[in-house]
């Protein structure tokens, strides 16, 4: 418990440092002491305007989205008992993309795109839930196969369907709209006006999932063991499915289909701090947020005033560092 607290404090400190960096860096640099002052006492300067209207909301959105993705990834990996699961594995991002692209094709206002994305994500969640009822609502403890193959397969199939629809929409789209659509698909926080909402959602979903954390630890050793130890497996699975799906849906609505964070942050943290979900889930929220915040800062400053899609940055930086971590840990076993 004391170790967990120390770890969370460390990660929270890193988050604050990343936030300070994100607020200071951009097409114009603001000195750190000015950042602190302007945050509490905005004035009429252009720096203040940039900070309050542009950088702060975007930084909060980036942090919230990253935390949601990592949290959703960690929960999906437990739910499916599959280390390869990520927030999108059950088709949430595909549904969101179809909704968002439809909105971009016909209207294009930010609000409509977000509504489309969230609607599509929810539709996908409900479809998978309904189709995989048999997996979600029953536990056969004597089964030799313990994972949840039907749930996973249903999600993957739905994702394939969504991906076909996405291709279709891209083919049909007029040239002028294509660029915006591709940006959305790559994952981008530039168009977001969500501000602090994803952060609020992150706090709520992390708080709701944390009390289940020890039951998730038990669930990782198989449904039979969990059931025998008094875990209400069906109920816990359903709750985790809903929480993870909601987190993915909100994240994808805010930033598009940003890859990599949801898969790798939970794994990287597991390698470093172990697999106790009580420690891991809050750590994912903080670590995922920090990573995406840093990546987004890079995305908007490395070729400023041009912006890169943040999803590209997360993959370009994250893949090599994760492989390095894997190789290093692999050697010591």
């Amino acid at each position: 418990m004391a170790r967990a607290l120390r770890l969370w404090l460390l990660l929270a400190g890193l988050s604050l440092a990343a936030l300070l960096l994100a607020l200071a860096v951009g097409s114009s640099t603001i000195a750190p002491q000015d950042v602190a002052r302007l945050l509490w006492q905005p004035d009429a300067s252009s720096d203040s305007e940039v900070l309050q209207r542009l950088r702060l909301p975007r930084a909060l959105a980036a942090f919230g989205t990253g935390g949601l993705l990592a949290l959703a990834g960690a929960l999906m990996q437990v739910l499916l008992r599959n280390p390869l699961a990520d927030p999108y594995v059950l088709g949430v991002s595909g549904g969101a993309a179809v909704g968002a692209l439809l909105a971009l094709l016909f209207a294009g206002s930010v609000l409509l795109v977000q509504a489309g994305a969230f609607g599509g994500a929810l539709l996908s969640i409900v479809l998978v839930f309904a189709l995989a009822q048999r997996d979600l609502s029953r536990v056969d403890t004597t089964a030799r196969l313990d994972s949840a193959p039907r749930l996973l397969l249903t999600g993957v199939m739905l994702a394939a369907l969504w991906s076909a629809l996405i291709t279709l929409l891209l083919m049909l789209a007029p040239e002028a709209r294509l660029r915006g659509m591709l940006f959305w698909l790559a994952g981008d926080l530039g168009g977001s006006d969500a501000g602090g909402w994803p952060l609020l959602a992150l706090a709520a979903l992390a708080a709701l999932s944390w009390p289940l954390a020890r039951e998730l630890n038990v669930l990782l050793r198989g449904a039979a063991m969990a059931q025998a130890l008094g875990v209400r497996v069906v109920r816990v699975r359903r709750i985790v499915y809903v929480l993870a799906s909601l987190a993915s849906a909100i994240a994808v609505t805010t930033g598009g289909a940003i890859g990599f964070i949801g898969l790798v942050v939970p794994h990287a943290l597991r390698l470093v701090i172990g697999n106790d979900q009580r420690v891991l889930l809050p750590a994912c929220a903080l670590g995922g947020g920090t990573l995406l915040l840093l990546a987004d800062t890079l995305a908007r400053s490395v070729v400023a005033p041009q912006q890169l899609p943040v999803g590209v940055i997360t993959a370009l930086l994250g893949v090599p560092s994760f492989i390095a971590l894997l190789l290093r840990r692999g050697g010591t076993r």
Binding site: R81, P83, R221
Partner: protein, 259 residues
């Protein structure tokens, strides 16, 4: 005998999987201090029976009471403090140290907000010691051999520390030395701490050596049960397995030899 607590009682129990009825009309009474061995050929319903007795599967027919209370009416967490089950197959999708996996056995004893304390860790380490795993406390369970992983599972059940222990082929993957170590420990728990143990097993000689009672399942709904000494005879076992089994005496021990 009336002073000995009746832990588990089945009446007219029917157990099945899918469309098949595996066991029908089973009356069973398991008391504190008894060590039951369940024997029978593959597919005779041993696993399904154990999971049913643990309250993890609905009854097809009959009644099942744990400490005089219908098994289905126990809340899961309370039930987990009264009976434990070692499943036959243990699945690991993620790494964890042996100690952490054994500590999961303490789950039913902890409140929602509680963390394992020094006492829980002491219990977990003692459980690992009982199955001779002191040297592997910190090892990742995904790197263990089949038999070692099996012993980690047994240790988790020991840490759970319920009055009734159900084990599905606990010694199947163990080497000779650890088969005897584990069964000795279970017998000690039954004799000295009044636990009731019910386990499925294929090794007739180990069963004959350690069981106080035997339950033999055979083809066509055959059921035999009673004190191990009188139940495990050539006729019953040969009929159950559909294979001639001879009973011999070697020194003070009874051994069974398959034809």
């Amino acid at each position: 005998m009336s002073a000995v607590a009746l832990l588990l009682e089945a009446r007219g129990l029917r157990v099945g999987a899918g469309t098949r009825t595996l066991i029908d009309g089973l009356d069973l009474q398991v008391h504190a201090g008894e060590l039951w061995c369940v024997m029978g050929p593959n597919g005779s319903g041993k696993t399904t029976l154990l999971h049913t007795l643990a309250g993890l599967r609905p009854l097809r027919a009959g009644e099942l009471r744990l400490q005089a209370r219908a098994i289905a009416s126990w809340p899961p967490a309370e039930l987990a403090r009264q009976r434990g089950l070692l499943p036959q197959t243990l699945h690991d999708a993620f790494s964890a140290s042996a100690l952490d996996v054994v500590l999961l056995g303490r789950h039913p004893h902890l409140g929602r907000w509680a963390w394992e304390d020094a006492e829980d860790e002491h219990i977990a380490r003692a459980a690992l010691h009982a199955v001779d795993l002191d040297a592997l406390v910190g090892r990742d369970v995904t790197t263990l051999s089949g038999g070692e992983r099996q012993r980690v599972g047994i240790a988790a059940l020991l840490a759970q520390d319920p009055p009734l222990l159900l084990l599905d082929e606990p010694v199947a993957h163990l080497d000779l030395h650890h088969q005897v170590t584990v069964l000795r420990h279970l017998r000690k728990l039954a004799r000295e701490r009044g636990k009731a143990v019910l386990l499925s097993i294929h090794d007739l000689n180990l069963a004959a050596r350690f069981a106080t009672h035997a339950l033999v399942l055979g083809p066509n709904g055959m059921l035999r049960q009673g004190p191990a000494e009188s139940t495990m005879d050539e006729v019953v076992l040969s009929a159950a397995f559909g294979h001639a089994v001879a009973r011999e005496r070697v020194g003070a021990r009874i051994v069974f030899v398959a034809d």
